[in-house]
Amino acid sequence: MSFLTPLFLLSLAGLAVPVIIHLIQRERKNVVQFPSLMFLQRIPYQSVQRRRIRNWPLLLLRLAALALIVAAFARPFLRRQALAAAAAGGAREVIVLIDKSYSMGYGDRWARATAAARDAIARVGPADRASVVFFSSGAEVALRSTPDRSRLNAAVVTGKPGAGATRYGPALKLAGSIASESPLPQRDVILISDFQRAGWQGADGVRLPDGVALTPVPIGEADTANVSVTPVTLQRSTFSEQDRVTVTGGITNHGSKAVANLEMTLEVDGRAVQTGRVSAEPNSSASVTFAAFTPAGHNTRGTVRIANDALPLDNAFNFTVSPKDPLRIFIAERPGAPRDGSLYLSRALALGETPPFDIATKSIDTITADDLQRTSVVILNDAPVAQLTAERLGAFVARGGGLLIALGSRGTWPAVTGAADILPALPGQPVDRTSGQSARLGALEYGNPIFEPFRAPRSGDFSGARFYTYRAVTPAKDAQIIARFDDGAAALIERRVGNGRVLLWTSTLDLQGNDLPLKSVFLPFVHRMVTTLASYADRPAWLTVGDVLEAPRAAPVPGATRQVTPRVVLTPSGERVALDGEGPDVLELTEQGFYEVRAQARDAAAPMTVASNIDLGESDLTTMDPQEVVAGAMGRAGGAAAAGTNVTATDQEQERNQRIWWYLLFAGIVILGLETLVGNRVSRTQGSGLRGA
């Protein structure tokens, strides 16, 4: 039972009035002035008699009448009866949204959440239907629209707190879609959550359909204490030609009490190697820097861990480290080129850190197939290409290699077809801009990965470089000009061939044709060209739950036989997920820990390990007002359904549900009348008794 105007229940305090009248006021109302209490004070004080209620029936009648009248004004309505009656008038579609973000693992929140869900299911009538939806950063339907309460309860039991962060938007959208598809007249959404502030970023564009009531069931505690491990900082250094990693781990104390001497452990490949101690004031952070260690191999697993508290999931932070593999670059020069012919190029590449570059410089006529097998990028610096070399390079690019051709003044390419036809443009005659105004780079495709870092203002100025000579070219059909000179001539052309790319630079990479090598943008420009050609991507040390794990796979080579290597992802909980290559090779991270991607082939490479961590925003257990979510989702505060929906049925039903106040008022009036009769009778009796005395 609920009340429409529960504030009226405060009037129940008025029940004390008759009692006070009986007990106190009745004797103290009349003050009689008496000359002396000398004799009265000598008479023993009979407190029992003073307080004894003489007319119990009268008092009870008065109290009952008052209580009934107050209850009538509080406008009670019976929800259960209403639901039972709904079988005839308006059945309900109940959507129970249960938050299973990892903050629900705090203390006994999950037990209380499932209890609240079972309570909501218990109120589902025979004509109603209910759905159970679990949500964290995403939402999933555990059981959809069924009147079977046992199945609904079973669905609730299957849930448990996950590793995701709280996001109300997806859950409310899903609830809205279930509600909008329901034919039932009443639609209620019950949101069971700890209502973390971090989970609500405004209304998120979520708006429940009209007529859908959202009832929040908050189960969070006001006073919480939680310490979480913050993302680590990995600092790399080289010592004795070995790659060393220094890990700095930290904690954030979200509680109101300081933590002192908390033990923080660094685990490498599952083994605790170092331990530090850390203290943090309330709502502040602290960190510990561990001694540097050398990663034993690729995909070395690291974890920074503290002792478990009420919310254990955020007490560990995972990462992976690997020794840095240099990117092998092969610079091919023309035969008889001077020793410093590729000076600027090699110097620029020698400064590479992420990744480091392993540079080999050779004459183009000495290139062998073996050279190309071990290299990632080949740079033809002002070198004429022979037929055989062109074919080898064509095959190299088709396999996924990168080729940068700096035409210079001597660069040529044999007129070939087939596999060797990889040139982005046919080189033409040199253009001499030494007389008059030198050429400048006029238009750059900032959408291309090469120039993307230079997109922002003051991120590199290419217009300062002057070009004195370059080659006129005729771009291929499938090539893309990504840089032009100020006269519109192509400066840099890209063409994708098979799994690889080919870049054609129409000028030189030394001071012969331009002064770009003297400009500050030269080094990043060269680095970007090389890493783009090598399809190099710096793998993050960890991902966050909810991110998508993308297992890279070589694109099919045109004309080649399609060979799909099946791969398996081993999740932290030990589950095996097969990526058969039919669909996109992606997997959403749902657990905290290490995912392992294995290729199921004899010559497969070593498995790839990805560290997965929870969203640390969830560690902040600060709660919000549930009505904020209600207001955002319904466009107004309060959980009642919007007026105007199912007007006829709702009005009748509401009237039926609230009719009880009539009976209460009537009963109160009847009892008042009875009280008058009894009161008169009692006073008559007492009056005659007095006269007789």
């Binding site: 008496f34 009265l40 008479i43």
Partner: protein, 303 residues
């Protein structure tokens, strides 16, 4: 009875009351000392025409008072003593404590006491005795010394009196005992809300000095019968203290306590040869005077 004229104090000598009292004068002449000049026996022996007794001569006696005839018969010196007929001092000792302001029947005890005082004073004054009065609560409030010319002052003073503060008998009565140098007739009018022994102890010094004391114990019918029926908070007029009282449960015990108090007072006073009269303010004023004068007469005959 409560007719008030413009003459101050006149209402205390209500003609109706006085007409009834006038019929009592013959009785009063034999009862009250000094009611009528010549009939008032002085407590002093002195010069007058009424022989009292003989006594042996002692050195220092006036030889003119030696009864020579008796000397002739007995050869011894005897002195003749006469009862002195003289004007007596009459004072009303009126309790004006706050409890005297109580009244349940339209007249308070103090008003009743004022009228009683007025009547007595008037009667005494008519005998040409010296009249005075003292009003007191816990201390002496008003003091009119006894004098044959103070009748008007006494009536004026009575008219002004209002209930004062908390009352006490001991301190003011002891102070009065110090004050009265000459023996006289003292009428104490009070509600006597003190322990009987304490009352007697307060009155004692006055009695020891030879004063003739008459006590009027004034009580309202409500104080005597306790006719309340509604449970109420009873507030002490003098202290302001309140206690909840259920009259039905307490009335009988109260009445027995009051009776015991009155009996104790009566016993104590009679033991000390002090005249005590309980006056119910619901009874007519002349009843009180009549019962008083009657009892005085009875006592006088006994003596």
């Amino acid at each position: 009875m409560l007719n008030t004229t413009s003459i101050p104090g006149a209402r205390f000598v209500d003609p109706v009351v006085l007409s009834r009292i006038g019929n009592l004068e013959l009785v009063a002449r034999h009862v009250v000392d000094g009611f009528i000049n010549g009939m008032h026996r002085s407590p002093y022996f002195g010069a007058s025409v009424d022989f009292a007794e003989h006594r042996g001569y002692v050195a220092g006696d006036d030889i003119r008072r030696v009864d020579w005839r008796l000397y002739a018969r007995t050869d011894r010196f005897y002195i003749k003593e006469y009862e002195a007929d003289t004007n007596a001092n009459f004072s009303v000792l009126l309790d004006v404590s706050k409890s005297m302001g109580f009244g349940s029947r339209g007249i308070t005890k103090l008003e009743y006491a004022k009228m009683l005082s007025g009547c007595l004073t008037y009667l005494v004054h008519k005998q040409r005795d010296r009249v005075g009065m003292i009003a007191f609560d816990s201390d002496i409030v008003e003091h009119v010394p006894p004098s044959a010319k103070h009748m008007d002052i006494v009536l004026h003073t009575l008219d002004r009196l209002k209930p004062g503060g908390p009352g006490s008998l001991r301190a003011p009565l002891h102070k009065m005992a110090e004050h009265f140098g000459r023996r006289g007739l003292l009428v104490l009018i009070s509600d006597l809300y003190e322990d009987p022994d304490a009352v007697l102890e307060a009155v004692g010094p006055l009695r020891f000095r030879g004063n003739d004391i008459i006590v009027f114990h004034l009580l309202d019918p409500a104080e005597l019968d306790f006719t309340f029926d509604t449970p109420s908070a009873f507030e002490d007029l003098e202290t302001g203290e309140q206690i909840p009282v259920v009259p039905d449960a307490l009335a009988e015990q109260y009445r027995s306590l009051v009776r015991a108090h009155i009996d104790a007072l009566q016993e104590r006073f009679s033991g000390s040869r002090i005249d005590y009269f309980l006056v119910n303010t619901s009874s007519p004023l002349d009843h009180a005077l009549f019962s008083y004068l009657s009892s005085r007469d009875r006592f006088a005959r006994v003596r």
